[in-house]
Subunit: 255 residues, 4 copies
Amino acid sequence: MKDIQNQPDDRNIPIDRVGVKDLRYPIIVSDRANSLQHTVASINMFVSLPHHFRGTHMSRFIEILNEHHRDFHIDTVEKILYEMKERLHACEAHMEVQFPYFIEKHAPVSGAASLMEYQCTFHGTLRDATDFVLGVEVPVTTLCPCSKELSEQGAHNQRSLVTIRIRSRQLVWIEELTEIAESSASSPVYALLKREDEKSVTERAYDNPMFVEDMVREIARRLNDDDRITWYSVESENMESIHNHSAYASIEKWK
Amino acid sequence: MKDIQNQPDDRNIPIDRVGVKDLRYPIIVSDRANSLQHTVASINMFVSLPHHFRGTHMSRFIEILNEHHRDFHIDTVEKILYEMKERLHACEAHMEVQFPYFIEKHAPVSGAASLMEYQCTFHGTLRDATDFVLGVEVPVTTLCPCSKELSEQGAHNQRSLVTIRIRSRQLVWIEELTEIAESSASSPVYALLKREDEKSVTERAYDNPMFVEDMVREIARRLNDDDRITWYSVESENMESIHNHSAYASIEKWK
Amino acid sequence: MKDIQNQPDDRNIPIDRVGVKDLRYPIIVSDRANSLQHTVASINMFVSLPHHFRGTHMSRFIEILNEHHRDFHIDTVEKILYEMKERLHACEAHMEVQFPYFIEKHAPVSGAASLMEYQCTFHGTLRDATDFVLGVEVPVTTLCPCSKELSEQGAHNQRSLVTIRIRSRQLVWIEELTEIAESSASSPVYALLKREDEKSVTERAYDNPMFVEDMVREIARRLNDDDRITWYSVESENMESIHNHSAYASIEKWK
Amino acid sequence: MKDIQNQPDDRNIPIDRVGVKDLRYPIIVSDRANSLQHTVASINMFVSLPHHFRGTHMSRFIEILNEHHRDFHIDTVEKILYEMKERLHACEAHMEVQFPYFIEKHAPVSGAASLMEYQCTFHGTLRDATDFVLGVEVPVTTLCPCSKELSEQGAHNQRSLVTIRIRSRQLVWIEELTEIAESSASSPVYALLKREDEKSVTERAYDNPMFVEDMVREIARRLNDDDRITWYSVESENMESIHNHSAYASIEKWK
């Protein structure tokens, strides 16, 4: 059979990224508490394509993935990137993996256990060396300092979604990033709260008001203090309970 | 050219609905304040197909729509349904239209004006007679009565999304339904609030705590009292500020 | 602590459904090939609330779920519904579970194995007896008979999304429903195809043209012939390659 | 009333972006054919915040927008950016606007007119000077050259979504970018095609096979040739009719 993809192309235009997008795949990721966790990922895999080749070989991306999905660690992404680069004769390889990850949390007073979901991302790039970004989305509560100050009683509060992404010189656990976000908010959120817990998180949030600006700064401060981390981006979207739009803030820094 | 769609089908299976889905179209809707409002709709148009025809004529749906999109009122949907039934030789025609609709609101103290978006739906069906359902989604604030009662200070509150759908024997304005939802919540939400308004809505919500159950009941009570309305469905999804899931309640009633 | 939810309500309005929505949870489902499969679900749990109670107890839904998520079979949903009804003193309980489910498929010529994702739903209701609906979404290829007939060469084809939902008097496997949808389309779709497979699926689709109407009828015919099935709904959305909207057809039937 | 936002902050951490996100707003944009077009936008507005201020003033973003939404041109974004920078005392201002835009197209044989929707974006940044990026998403048809070459008859084809973004030294119309994308694909897509048109687009696509790589290169070639354009990014996502994932390619270039 003719290999159309290997035909030459004379437009002299290299392609930055070509590959497969939005592939859904079950994976198993490393978990600080239980060693392994089953989840379902959305995966993008791209390579660069030199100007003289007409096309890449899309099926090889899937073949490479098929060999590795059973234990999907940061190291696995690195192995896959090397194989992509080699088997697709590319100068550059990219892999983006997004997956829900669950951590057992205990309610603050009753201690009742429940599972919280965090959306996580691994983004890896291999040129000469690998570049690796870990991301996690953490839902939290924020309570508005201005509303508290102005009002006789009460203060508007809402669910906020914090996204932290880092580059690091050694392993940082997902659990460490969720902990930083949750302890920098007015209160963490939980899947299960009994009445005594609801009292506790309400009062904690009221005693701990946070603008979206305060929260991203507090998280940035902690990421600044962690010597393992070489780069970070932190953003928060507060789904305001008094508006139908969000308040937003972000900070990005190479350290 | 051969008309494949008109070929006979011998499987003896009628089709309930066949047509076009997720068509995007600019429309102009009637507006209580300004008489006309430009917006952009997502449109579904379906007819029934008797067992003996192989296919419908998809392009005719678009042709019919093209003749009518310039002034899109409840009456327009009815006209379109009659044309679909006739030109597609169908026993039954359905049209579903969803669009954002903007209403100018004034902040409660400063009176500052801003525009709030409400997602609206018109669903029409024509068999022997027309059946017509108007829907509107209204974002509001709810403040938890349990959290207020238990806590020394403060109470968790959040953005909630109320959906009201009605059948009526005479015209009910979108503006009447948004007003019912907003006045049944702990507080309306606004696009623009100055500091004095933020104080006002915070205190109003604190003085007016509402479970998701309370809010749908309060809305149902008002819809029960309106003699124009023959059927309603009301639901609310509260995007809890202390959880990462929603609290939900719904009531449906033929009067 | 005061139990605000148990306060009486004097509006005399019962609530059809109240509970938790969009809860994310890792579950393990039964799998015809491997006996068990880990996945991640979105879960809704609702009960009816009599007119004289002010509110339900939201945390109990999570507690019941926590006791059961480790082996999530159709029987588990039934057990959970009984517990919801009892522990929340309700006349009626509803549970809706949606999850991605993976089946290993083999490419038609090379036999290359890969995993295909299918979105599945379990919807259960318990009043006096349980009512149970199984749903599955199956992506397939459809090739237009009209385009093939009219054109000198080629025919437009596209990805289509078939949704089958059933009630049955005995167990029907997810795998049986995906097989019905895939063999009723112009061609199944696959995660991995080698060149010889791509030739095969292209030719198979060209030899097997299907309107959206043809496909839902063919699936309906097979569901009619299966005596285990007492009710079904089948719909397909064809994401037309020549339009930016979809062609759609649906059939629903009590047998 | 106390101005909490103006309080000092001693963490010494400046914030890159703070403001409002996902605000929905009706706007009127300039249109090459009709001079003005009404549509509905999703808007983000952010400023930078120096390390010594605790918070920005969220309501001012809305006030500035309120003064300008009635005629929303590239020049309007620039005016708004200047006002944001001044009224919020910021070093940097960002505005991101996304909106559906409709262009009347004529079917290739019958000439039948219909409206096609294109999602557009204006992203503006003001530091010392303004930086402005125009984006447009264009749905098209692509037909696989490999499938055509290998198969006796037919070839798989699908809807693809092309995204072009540009910086330019003078005005480039949205209509010019959609034209580049559509003429670089196997075929444009249309909202309305009669039978003779369906024959024409099917044959045109079959005669004009395009890998995702071919299409982004062809678009890049045309953007390279346009001297008004100083930077571009082009990407395409092909929603493969034989897979449940997409094929993807992208090129970005400063000229």
